[in-house]
Amino acid sequence: MENIVVEIEHLKKSFGSHQVLNDISLKLEKGKNLVVLGKSGSGKSVLIKCLMGLLLPDDGKIILLGKNVADLKEKELNVLRKKVGFLFQSAALYDSMTVRENLEFPLRDKKEMTKEEKEVLVKEALENVGLENVIDEMPSALSGGMRKRIGLARTLILKPEIILYDEPTTGLDPITSKEISQLILGIQKKYNTAAIIITHDIECAKITANTMLIIKDGTAIIEGTYQEISTSKDEWVHSFFE
């Protein structure tokens, strides 16, 4: 299956006696968006943190771009991480750096690139998110929605094959949420990236999802398209769409 870019098998993760992920399995195809939907605290963020090697799973297998994450040494993992973008819930902009420095940060290792080439990439990334005019601002001067966009621009600068979005619309007003969701969709179409979108925002899921997976108490309970899941007879699943 050459088209599969992420494969998770029987993933388990607990913190102390609290079982957060309990036997999660999923597959993500190249160029597709998978929305992982669930209540707050259901283990969605833990899932993508395990995927990036930020948390070590207790059991199970994670294959990312054909490589088993558990078998990788730190340097190999860092190389793999450059092919995967991660948009944090808080955007996680480096607040001691300007927007330009934030965007240039992932390019630090690219010694072969000239300053001008880096500048072109920075401007292209900012154009993608429609924020060329804030290039010299500090993150503290930006609104929540703008910070998310800059975070997304920083993620895009390395042209990743996969993007992981952790609650991309949380804390935003409905209009900005819709804009961010459409931006996610636009990026998928423009760069043919695969994405896992962690959310509990049903509008975001509706706009961005090719397929959806619903997690309840750390267990995947249903998988399918938005259409299939929205017509589910399960009362708990249906409550998301009311």
Binding site: M52, V79, R81, K82, A92, Y94, S96, P106, R154
Partner: protein
């Protein structure tokens, strides 16, 4: 043998059952856990500092931020320290008619002990707490995770550069601070006397030996290293919550100040062996 073990187990159980003993046992456990974790953190620093990539630009930035920006505080404190020490010491020396010893006595006090320790305590308060709060805040807002997922080693970029900058900058600050403190002392001497600049410093350097200066400088490298190390350790390992930012900053100052005194005590013992 079996009876001894039974008695020991019973004693531990009795100790654990009493709330106060339980508190003491937990405190001891916490202490040893912290020492162990701090040691591992220091070992990781020494492992990573010698291997590329070297974050030179961040190191220079931290040297500027830690060293240059701490200079005014160290300079003002040094000047006041030299001035006050001279004014306070004069009456005592005057009782014995030994005012002429004032420059030498103040110089030895400042160079050997007061200069390094006061500068280190100020450094712990300003830089140690700053590093602790900054790193804890980066942890809370997922900036450290963001660095990690972008393929950058955050320990190398954040921790190694800050500890190295603190280790290098404190000795420089102490040397400059000592010089300013001696100038403060010169002003103090001249408030009730008339000693030329040349004569004052002739008396100062006439009485200072290498055994006064070298160990004092060497210990400041240790002060700087541990202040940086503790600040980074407390910040880097902060819990995820805004409360932990304040806790990390506070713990960094308290622990670093305590360690400064401990190192000073050990340094005095070692120096006295050579005297």
């Amino acid at each position: 043998m079996e009876t001894d073990l039974t008695i020991l187990n019973q004693t531990v159980k009795v100790m654990q059952d009493k709330p106060l003993n339980k508190f003491y046992l937990q405190s001891v456990k916490y202490f040893f856990e912290e020492v162990s974790n701090l040691t591992r953190f220091a070992i990781r620093f020494f492992k990573e500092i010698f291997y590329p990539p070297y974050e030179w630009s961040e190191f220079v930035k931290q040297c500027f931020s830690i060293g240059y920006k701490s200079f005014p505080l160290v300079a003002i404190t040094g000047f006041i320290m030299g001035l006050v020490l001279t004014i306070q010491s004069r009456p005592t020396l005057a009782t014995f008619g030994a005012q002429s010893w004032l420059p030498a006595m103040v110089a030895v006090s400042i160079i050997r002990e007061i200069g390094p320790v006061i500068a280190a305590l100020i450094f712990a308060g300003k830089v140690g707490s700053g590093i602790g709060a900054e790193l804890a805040s980066m942890k809370v807002t997922e900036q450290i995770d963001a660095m990690e997922v972008s393929g950058t080693n955050p320990f190398n970029y954040i921790v190694v550069t800050r500890i190295a900058a603190a280790t290098l900058m404190l000795p420089i600050l102490v040397i400059v601070g000592d010089g300013i403190a001696l100038y403060g002392s010169y002003i103090g001497v001249n408030l009730k006397g008339d000693v030329s600049f040349h004569l004052f410093f002739l008396q100062v350097f006439g009485k200072l030996n290498f055994i006064d200066v070298i160990p004092a400088i060497i210990k400041t490298f240790f002060f700087g290293f541990f202040i940086g190390l503790i600040g980074c350790y407390k910040g880097y390992n902060a819990n995820k919550g805004t409360e932990s930012v304040g806790k990390a900053a506070n713990a960094a100052v308290v622990l670093a100040s305590l360690v400064v005194f401990l190192i000073d005590m050990i340094a005095v013992q070692i120096t006295s062996l050579f005297n």
